[in-house]
Amino acid sequence: MLSRIAESLFWIGRYVERAEDTARILDVHVHHLLETQVESEAELCARLLAVMGVKAPEADPERLTSQQVVDRLAFDVGNPSSIVSSLVAARANARGVSEAISSELWEALNVTYNTIFAEGTPSTAFSAYSFFRFVKERAAVISGLIDSTMSRDDAWRFMVVGRSLERVDMLARLLAAATSGPEPDWVVLLRSFSAHEAFLRTYRREPEGALAAQFLLLDRLFPRSAFFSLRAAEDCLAELDPISGRLGPSDEGRRVLGRLRTTLEFIQVSELMFELPELLPDLQRQCAAASMAVATRYFRKTNVVEWTMEREGVEGVSSR
């Protein structure tokens, strides 16, 4: 597969996941504010923006409103990680590689894009709720098509690696935000990742801190848990480069992810809550490192050839 295409596929996976997770998080956030008379809307909003790594639009954090947060994280094209920007970027990437993905998948991404801009500005065409619902549904269609129309070849693997890394990163961010302040609402948190019902079916009781964190980070079966996603990414990397020498795999990305996965796999469950303040930032850092390693290995894996024009018009070549 062409390196350029591999890189685009990786990022399509990331962007769609980013859009979906942001929609989930915002959906729950808005709903939460409506449902409960929270003490400080501004404070919650500021924390959400901080965890998403986005600068607050309002100079005075005391006056931050939910509407502003939604505008900034969902609709703002000036914010490169907003939902709209992510979906625009996913479609732009797909356009350049549309021969490498199934036509259904391309069409799904294109229709998503067309629908967002069908009525002009998305922020006026959609209500927040209908937009989140739309994004989640489109993401489900897109993921479904990725899984049901694409061969399990390198193209699919790069998409899954991108999707999984983004998922872990978003989860780590949200957990970090939730556990940094006063005791968070664990139901809200689980709902952000569609994990509340799965949690209830697993533990048969209302969530409390330790159990919810265990479920989101360590559950072996829930597909949005950090462990599950890390293993999915690791498996794909292993299939991309199946050769493992006597000293283990040479792939840096696989090494980083494997170590991270092992940390979660053999963590002392009872100690999990105490380790969160170090574990969560580490998850984000290691995901970034893995992403970098994948890029170095697969997206720029050739020697640079430099051509020089000599005076007589004879060309020379040098490899470095």
Binding site: L2, K301, W307, E315, V317
Partner: protein, 556 residues
Amino acid sequence: MRRMGDLLDGYSLAHPYGRNAWDEMFEDRGSPRPGTKALCDILQSLSGAELESRASARDRMFRDRGITFQLSGEERPFPLDLIPRLIVDEEWQELERGIVQRVKALEALLADVYGAGRIFSDGVIPRRLVTSSEHFHRAAWGIEPPNGVRVHVAGIDVVRGEDGHFYVLEDNLRCPSGVSYVIENRRMMARIFPELFASHRVTAVDGYPAKLLEALRAAAPPGVADPTVVVMTPGVYNSAFFEHSFLARQMGVELVEGRDLLCHSGRVYMRTSDGEREVHVIYRRVDDEFLDPLHFRSDSLVGCPGLINVARSGNVTLANAVGNGVADDKLTYTYVPEAIRYYLGEEPILRNVATYRLEDPEQLAYTLARMDELVFKPVSGSGGYGIVIGPEATDEQLASLRQNLTVNPRGWIAQELVALSTAPTWVDNRIAPRHLDLRPFAINDGNGIWVLPGGLTRVALPEGGLVVNSSQGGGSKDTWVIAGSSRRKAKAPTGGHGREVASNAPAPGSSLRRPSGLPVGVFDPEPGPSWEDPDRLHQQERQQQQAGHGQGPLSC
């Protein structure tokens, strides 16, 4: 909105500049040409509202599938007219033979120009014609293509004159585009107008990508058993990007940009996630001038440095070959009939439009005297840019053209104006005649030349307009070659020359046929576990009734 059934009533034939344009559907008002009656009847039965709703379905589907093109910075759905253009089989066969003949002669001409140059020494064509062409590339001299093919894909533009004959307007031997729209138009028509297909036997067009891939593989350097073929595009922002992507997808090959390729040690490689992989055949849709910054424009960012050297050493095949432009130059065009006679010893089947070479002082003087009747075209232009239509031009335009012609007679040709044929077209909520041309596509795989049945029909949408290029606001029509009643079924697919027949239909008596008597499905679909035990359900109902809810479980 108009009443049902009167859509064709107001249809009046076009008379551009006092000529009687040939109409593809009607001989004169009300009497359809042979073969078009069925289409005519269906159109009569439709209302304007119905056509309009199909038009919006078409636009939505094109938009969703990303089949759009940029017009003045705006992304628009591809302009496909709702009414197909019909060509009956007898006519098509002649057109097909004419195109095969022409492409053969052009191949021979190119081999000669970049080889021995017999046609010059025999005095049929002046050598100056070639050496003065800006598309003549010395870099291509002496490159012997592996299977002798330089024109892997050709697009021959033809128009129908007032007399009903087809004339060649232009040859395209570099990167003729539009074939993806032929295939997409057909798919779209089948979706929005299925009933039209029921009453016509339309020859299929979707065999093109397979034919192209076959031809590209056949062109691989010698000794390569399983060649790697790629399509090379300038990138997403090229107006034909959709087509590049379409062809790569349909052929199952990589679509590369210049930056994905690199040349070293006399070979071309593409950068893959698995390291470098050698490339053997490049179907390039990048112009000669931008292909290799070392040989051509050094400011090209869409090419790959070193490509020409690899091609010269025979380790990669470029399709179409570099330097083909010399043979589709509009001045060379005037010599193609001579080339056909010279190389093939045959009379040309397809005529040229009467054209004047302005380097000849006599012809120049003659055309200067008739400027307001002729059409003037820049020799190396394409896409309809720079064309001056005499009867439409203002005095200032003619004056500045006159100056151009005198200074640079090699840069222009003059042609008699052809009143392009018309066909019924859906514009502004009615059916009206619009002028059109046809670009059939031919593929040469070295063993034979295959012509895609039909081709791209381009329509000039403005009333009376004669310029059909999509960059000038032109539209398109699905082009149907209507199979004759006698032919095709009996004809077996032949290598190279044959047309696509329904080859996937099982032959009578073949093993694909189901033995009679067996049911279609081997097993009935397996049912899931029964939803509710009726007795239990009944008891549940009773329980609830006793509890006083008054509603059965199934009614909520």
